[in-house]
Symmetry: none
Subunit: 291 residues, 2 copies
DNA sequence: GATAATTATGTAATTAAATTTCATTCTTTT
DNA sequence: AAAAGAATGAAATTTAATTACATAATTATC
């Protein structure tokens, strides 16, 4: 359970499951972890408005032997400057503040994913994708771009790949699934109707249904293999969907996994692809900064 | 004097100047700093064969307020988990190693971008995009997905947006640019021929040409506004392009910037968009983990 | 919807750890 | 070789963290 590295990510992912005072402590720590490493247990308790033993218990629940030990963990997972609480962009933000906020949120989401990597699910998905005769990547809205990216990457293998966003196409193709087809659905919420329906349909055909989504969602229920990711809630904040970034990196993982599974053959094939791209590039010129 | 960060380097350089017992302490700490962060003052003293006050004085001489503070300094100069060097996936990697490598590379790229944010370029790009009557996002290969994502995001404003990957379309549309059009080109290398040609073409029409690319590239030279990003070179490692992730986050920044520039009107519009998405979702169900 | 069981939290007592004081022992200088 | 100065350790003190216990809040059960 206690992963030792990156207590901050650990706290972040535990946040929704925490009790009232534990959450108060967690928030104080996440807001200014650097300060927390220098504070005494009394000071932190006072900051959070809880008692000292509560802080102590909080530390122990995270796997530390006590408060001083917790501070060491904290110090070790600290990256200078980064904001660990999800930050919301508001009307007061300027070009000096919102870019950093967005970056920090993204970096956080990735660090969280790093802590709770669903390795077994990835492995199983890689197996299915490797064995597939035909692969469909389906996602709508923001996830359509992720699906497109996946298609583009898997296109480099000899497998036949397709992406669609049109509801009718989705439905038709899902209904026509066959034994060695893989349907890969991408949805942050797992509650987008078109996607859920298509997944349910595909599951009845004998094809393999993989979903990258919230594990507690209708889409997950309809799927054979679920890549569940722990992503800080920002469904409502449609401006910057950190989830899609995490999804893209997971796609990278799947492509990498399949390539490795193909062994020499796969790696060689990629080398050839790389070669073929070269003529489309202009020669590299001397570095010369432009303002 | 006291450098706060990197106590280890500090101790190392001070080593020859230290007294007998201080050196004994220093050696124990340097031999296994990780263990030192977990040891009590009594334990460390015993390890070094000195008294507890000696250890305490050692810490103070280094600038810490005392032993516990010193341990925090030590912990902070011990970088946990995250690998800061770009890591290459090789044939020996397994599902337990390559996902983390990919994530670490991505996180690193984002942290790098965070350090060297081209705020002025972003601001200027936001200005152009805000004022534009029509926007084209052009990218091919991996960057096509980024362009698509940008289109999807900017579509939410009233401005007309389009993306194309077909070389002929690119050329035609670029040639037909008008004064209040914005052509936004995305290319990691800035050397993709189709893109460079299209940019040069567009620049002759009086339209504004923005490029998100390597600042020392033909594409940058052809553009009016360059969003130059410092991304670790991994062009050759086509499996996982970290650049596209950074590009996507920059797109988020631009959308955010334009939204903020639009003020109340923009924010309200987004609120309406959010509302309109709700009916496409199925109701949220009780959390129920699926293995 | 009330009651029991469980879990969460705080107060006070305790224990552990780190720090200071002061006496002693080494160095270094003349 | 003697005296000053710095370094070190033993013991006392202080500070901080932890445990034990009582109370409050929550959740489950009937």
């Amino acid at each position: 359970m206690s992963n030792e590295s990156n207590v901050l990510a650990q706290i972040q992912s535990a946040l929704p499951r925490l009790s009232k005072s534990d959450r108060k402590i967690a928030e104080v720590v996440l807001t200014d972890p650097e300060a927390a490493t220098r504070a005494s247990i009394a000071h932190l308790a006072q900051q959070a408005g809880v008692s000292e033993p509560s802080v102590n218990r909080f530390c122990k629940r995270l796997g530390a032997t006590g408060y001083p030990d917790f501070k060491i963990w904290l110090a070790r997972s600290l990256v200078s400057g980064l904001q660990y609480m999800s930050q919301v962009v508001d009307a007061e933000d300027t070009v000096d503040t919102y870019p950093t906020k967005l970056l920090d949120n993204t970096i956080n989401a990735l660090m969280l994913a790093r802590e709770n990597l669903p390795a077994p699910a990835i492995e199983s998905a890689v197996g299915h994708l490797h064995a597939a005769r035909r692969i469909y990547f389906f996602g709508v809205g923001t996830s359509a771009a992720v699906a497109r990216d996946a298609e583009h990457k898997f296109f480099r293998f000899q497998t036949s790949v397709a992406t669609h966003t049109d509801p009718l196409m989705l439905r038709m193709l899902s209904a026509g699934g066959q034994a060695d087809d893989v349907f890969f659905f991408i949805s942050h919420t797992g509650r987008t109707q078109v996607i859920v329906e298509a997944a349910e349909l595909a599951a009845t055909t004998g094809a393999t249904v993989i979903a990258m989504t919230d594990p507690a969602s209708p889409l997950a229920d309809a799927s054979h293999c679920v890549i569940g990711l722990d992503i800080p809630e920002n469904t409502e904040d449609y401006l910057a969907m950190t989830s899609r970034i995490v999804h893209l990196v997971v796609i990278d993982m799947l492509v990498t996994g399949v390539t490795l599974k193909r062994g020499a053959e796969g790696i060689e094939h990629l080398a050839r692809m790389k070669e073929s791209l070269l003529p489309t590039r202009l020669p590299k010129q001397k570095k010369r900064r432009k303002t």
